[in-house]
């Protein structure tokens, strides 16, 4: 225990992530070298913030209607009339593409008697939005264009009864909505994200796989399972030292946090450090191309640099692109950014994920997790259309979903922890989660932002 240090000043022995990647042969992006940690306190996070129906109701009233949320990718609504329904709690929006190719979003409710125009989670394509109850029709621009038996509605017109628009904007190919028309613009909400992502062409990726699973845990605890790498050694590697990555944790105003951890670097904590050749063999074994013999690491070269070249070449051939300008860190490392309240994206080349979490409005002990794999689009080739989501219920294994590869079993391990947490929250006498000051600071950052909207609960 580093008792002489101030709270939050303690770090794992050895080099930092930023120091580790300076040993790569290629220069990492400037943003990767940034340190942006701050001590945010060490009080426990009350369990009632996860389990209380009252707290969930206050989140639904004070948080979710006022924040930007990723509704879909632009390719979900590629042509006029394509639409995607985004549901968050009891709120629902229709996101669509108009005839002039503009993206618009509307509250998903008929202006007659409130009927939802489209079912939850629906997507499709239409010429207009027609209410299934009495047949009121709205154009793709949201304008009320037809009221059957209009003689009975002299008090109704397009000026007063067109669909209610909500805010919509795009970043990196993602479509974001905000139900609060007085909200700050998206680019302000995004904070450092556009600057940190300028070396990644995320807009030019397509959805290869989409899995939506119901999780047995509150939405915040579900997100927290992906906010730290502290759990990796125990949850995913049976306690093996070899799996302990060197990680940086950073928080940025107001809505962004990140971790980045190395893949295939020497961890100074290990009693007997592996050789570069052993590091390469370990990465090679996970690659799934075992028909090729593992190369020999030349003297004076790191396993990371050798492996990064192999990955860039192989993914470059697979996706018809030149990735030679990617640094070793961009190519190999686990780079995870979080945008409050519910969106994660991995811009690196090897790990292609984006996540979205949403509460289950009927029960704070459950949530929904959309998992996307985004792959680089081939120049000159129309990417495949977005796949229909693979729906998994609480007990369904991720290994049932095609396209997740070895990660399916990894997500199952995370899900098992979530169910155990939900049970433990309710029996634990201590009253709240205790967090590490550094490695779990992103969790504290999340709760700090939730509190900004929800307020104190005492």
């Amino acid at each position: 225990m580093a008792e002489s240090l101030k709270p939050g000043a303690g770090r794992a022995p050895g080099h930092t992530y930023q120091e580790a990647i300076l040993k790569d042969s290629s220069k990492p992006p400037e943003a990767f070298l940034d340190y942006s940690y701050e001590f945010m306190g060490d009080q426990d996070i009350p369990y009632r913030h996860y389990t209380s129906k009252d707290y969930a109701a206050r989140e639904m009233e004070n948080l979710w209607p006022h924040v930007w949320q990723m509704a879909c990718r632009e390719e979900h609504i590629a042509e006029p009339g394509d639409y995607q329904v985004y549901d968050i709690g009891h709120l629902s929006a229709i996101v669509t593409r108009t005839e002039s190719m503009e993206i618009k979003a509307y509250v998903n409710a008929c202006m007659h008697r409130g009927t939802a125009l489209k079912p939850p989670g629906d997507n499709g394509f239409c010429q207009s939005f027609r209410c299934p109850f009495h047949g009121w029709i709205y154009s793709l621009d949201g304008e009320l264009v037809e009221v059957p038996e209009s003689w009975d509605f002299p008090h109704v017109g397009a000026e007063t009864h067109s669909l209610r628009e909500i805010l919509v904007d795009t970043w990196a190919g993602f479509v974001f909505v905000n139900f609060d028309r007085e909200s700050e613009p998206l680019d302000q909400f995004l904070g450092v994200l556009p600057e940190h992502f300028k070396d990644f062409d995320i807009g030019n990726r397509y959805i290869e796989t989409h899995v939506c699973k119901r999780l047995p845990v509150n939405w915040k605890a579900a997100e927290e399972a992906f906010m730290e790498a502290y759990h990796v050694k125990e949850t995913h590697a049976g306690g093996r030292d070899f799996s302990e990555p060197v990680t940086t944790y950073d928080v940025y105003p107001l809505n962004v946090s990140r971790f980045i951890h190395t893949v295939g670097s020497v961890n100074p904590r290990m009693p007997v450090p592996p050789t570069e050749q052993e590091l390469l063999s370990a990465m090679w074994g996970r690659r799934g191309a075992n028909d090729q013999a593992c190369p020999t690491v030349p003297d004076g070269v790191t396993a990371r640099d050798v492996y990064a070249e192999v990955v860039k070449k192989s993914l470059g051939e697979q996706y018809g692109q030149d990735f030679s300008h990617y640094s070793t860190a961009q190519t190999l490392d686990s780079i995870e950014y979080f945008l409050f309240p519910n969106f994660f994206i991995f811009p690196g080349l090897s790990l292609p994920m984006a996540y979205r979490f949403r509460p289950d409005p009927s029960d704070p002990d459950y949530s929904y997790f959309d998992l996307y794999f985004l792959r680089p689009s081939q120049p000159g080739v129309t990417p495949p259309p977005p796949p229909e989501p693979i729906m998994l219920d609480v007990k369904d294994s991720y290994t049932l979903a095609e396209g997740l590869g070895f990660l399916g079993a990894v997500y199952d391990q995370d899900t098992d922890n979530m169910a155990a947490q939900t049970r433990g929250f309710k029996t634990c006498a201590k009253g709240g989660q205790t967090l590490g000051n550094y490695q779990e600071v992103r969790i504290r950052h999340l709760h700090s932002r939730v509190q900004d909207y929800v307020g104190d609960d005492q």
Binding site: E79, D82, D122, G124, F125, C126, Q127, R130
Partner: protein, 101 residues
């Protein structure tokens, strides 16, 4: 069992035909022919003016989508699949059959 022979359709073309007692929508989607009953299982509207994308047809009335291959609907408006018909192609001629496909 009733069958109908017709000329194969050009890509993205569609045609409404009668097979036995059924009104059938035949369409060529990306080089593959499909045949489904031309009647939405939600409110019995004809489907032939609906948009076809990614192997689905959307009912022009309320937008219910049906998988043209299996007839299965998407969304909550109906749970009843469309009836599908078998299509075989030989030398530019399609045979549509109302046998269970």
């Amino acid at each position: 069992m009733t069958t109908l022979e017709m000329l194969a359709l050009a890509p993205d073309q569609r045609e409404v035909v009668t097979v036995g007692d059924s009104c059938v929508l035949v369409c060529n989607v990306g080089g593959v022919h499909y045949a489904v009953e031309n009647r939405c299982t939600h409110q019995e509207t004809t489907l032939h003016e609906g948009r076809i994308r990614h192997g689905f047809i959307a009912c022009p009335l309320h937008g219910v989508r049906f998988d043209l291959k299996t007839g299965e609907p998407k969304g909550d408006l109906t749970r009843i699949p469309l009836r599908t018909f078998s299509v075989t192609e030989e030398d530019g001629t399609l045979t549509i059959s109302d046998a269970e496909s």
